[in-house]
Amino acid sequence: MTAILILVIALLAAACGMLLYLYTNTREACINLSTRLLQSERQNTQDQDALRQRRHLDTIKDEFISTVSHELRTPLTSIRGALGLLSAGIMGQMDDKAQNLLRIASNNTDRLVRLINDILDLERMDSGRAPLNIRRCSLPELVKSASDTMASMADGAGVKILILDAEDEANPEVFDGDSDRILQVLCNLLSNAIKFSPRGSEIKVTSQSDNETLMLRIEDHGRGVPAEKLESIFDRFSQVDPGDSKQKGGTGLGLAISRSILSQHGGAIWAERNDAGGNDNPGTTFLIRIPRVRVMADEPPPSPVRMQGAILVVDDDALVRQVVAEQLRRHGYDVLETDRGEQAIYIAERQHVEAILLDLYMPGLSGWETLERLKRNPNTAEIPVVVLSVLSPASHRAEGPHLLSTAQGWVQKPFNESLLLAELGRVLHTGAGPGRILLVEDDDVLADVVIAGFQDGGRQGMQIDHVHSLQEARRSCEKEPPDIMILDLSLPDGDGFTLVQWLREQPTLRKLPLVVYSGREVSADEMEQLRLGPTQFLTKTQVQPEHVEELVLAMVRNLRHPTLEAQTVS
């Protein structure tokens, strides 16, 4: 028995060694790629060659990371499984020493899995391959959720998490962000705080906010972080004490990931030492700052929305109407105004209104009633409505939950200009009409899977048309130009190159977004020949047909909302 066990452990050690070697190499490869990329960018940003190389490298890096993820996890699954079964005693009970060896191997396998997850996370964020899924989030709700998630860990450590909720009803702590990502940060900070807190102590979570930003403090009474390490703990693989990763089971990447996430949100995270006050365990406070509206310094201001119609502002307060109208006009919107709900419905029915900003408390027909009538009326039901109210979506929840689901957006008074414009921009973008995708593919089975991918995703907003040949593709394009084309290179009556050449000659189609989905690798030269508007190259052997949906939708999102996710598509 012991002989078998020793053999297993030896094999495991070899496997772990190999994985670590692989990891080191992959990391180096990624760093090399990034360095080459940076250098080429510096030399000449206008240089087409560098651009092409960059696109190529991005594709390689993407595929590489996805492959590494899968390839590392697969052997780990076998190792983890074999170890688990051995320690469960399916080969007979083992003595304590053997059990201990198995426990060591199991724990370290788990650690390796966490490490792989964290590394992939970081790489994806650094390369901009992890776009944020931005929506309105409530900070107190996320704090509560993180605290619930960490409750059993806290119980086990005999530590209490104390949330001091001081949210001002009139000014709720909401922000535009990716709730999953912020939750990840909060869990990470709480987990750290629990790990380093002495039994019987408390972790205090407090928040503070103003009109622009939200602040959160997580205060522990652990041994504290030395002053000289307050900044370096956010570096990768950095620990206050080199023994920590072994003892505490961390990967040394949690804080680096958290900082990356906050910086994606345009916020910040840092640590402060608590006032010692003669205490041996002064502890540490981690602080997070998140802007209510995500504003990135390096992003261009939101592009003006192409519109034919006007924005209708409905508010009985003339001053509010005046301020809002002025702000909107300054940003190129046409504005219509009214002080009554009845009038608003009348205007919306007869004029070209792109969106409605709606106050709730109005004499006569209230905002609630107006909203309901607008949505019931087939002529006005499709117009997006942004509620403009002193009420917060949260405080209103008890009164009428359906209001939140019928209005497309919400801006709370008092509001600032950027908040209003961001919310308006958001509803106008999401309100864009359905897109038409033209799939040019002669293989029916493959086409079915691609189409099924779109249908499974429940994308009613997307219309997908399938044609089998060059000839059909031309005809379909002439009849109605698609919004995006998915193109197989080998077709029964010609190849994709011929079609692209033809598309280039058509004034309305030469900038068509294109996804080349081919059976073979496409060379850099060929890529240039195939490039139309935004163009993405997918290889059938590497991208399963049902994954195409995700990439195409990402492209469509980018086209509609270029400021948020511009980096994901070349």
């Binding site: 993820s69 699954t77 983890r80 079964l85 469960a88 399916i90 899924n133 429940g458």
Partner: protein, 124 residues
């Protein structure tokens, strides 16, 4: 309760570990297949209570195999649990949209694999 499970995975080692886990920990009866095509044939012949299937397989991957089985009257009602080494949020959402009973992640814990399947399938 004795359950009959079909495991479809192209990785020999993972198939073996999963089989051993479901047999020795849960006492279930397990048959295996090493590809989507073989899995469909097995499923037709064996009529298992549930299928545990890998996502990434050459030739026919998990989601494709699932869709094929949905089309066949003999296999359309067999619940499928997908097993994947991909952990990104988008993958999870996409797999959930397929209509499978559940998606479990690799590496799985062999001691709780049967429990996880049971609770996903509503078996008490």
């Amino acid at each position: 309760m004795m359950r009959r499970i079909l495991i479809i995975d192209d990785e020999d080692d993972i198939r073996e570990v999963a089989q051993l886990s479901l047999e020795s920990i849960a006492g279930w009866q397990v048959s295996t297949a090493r590809s989507g095509a073989e899995g469909i044939e097995r499923a037709k012949a064996d009529k298992p209570d549930a299928i545990l299937m890998d996502v990434m397989m050459p030739a026919m991957d998990g989601p494709t195999t699932f869709r094929e089985m949905q089309k066949l009257p003999e296999t359309a009602d067999i619940p499928v649990v997908l097993l994947t080494a991909k952990v990104q949020g988008v993958d999870q959402r996409r797999f959930a949209g397929l209509g499978v009973a559940a998606v479990l992640f690799k590496p799985f814990d062999p001691l709780t694999l049967a429990d996880q399947m049971s609770s996903a399938l509503g078996w008490s």
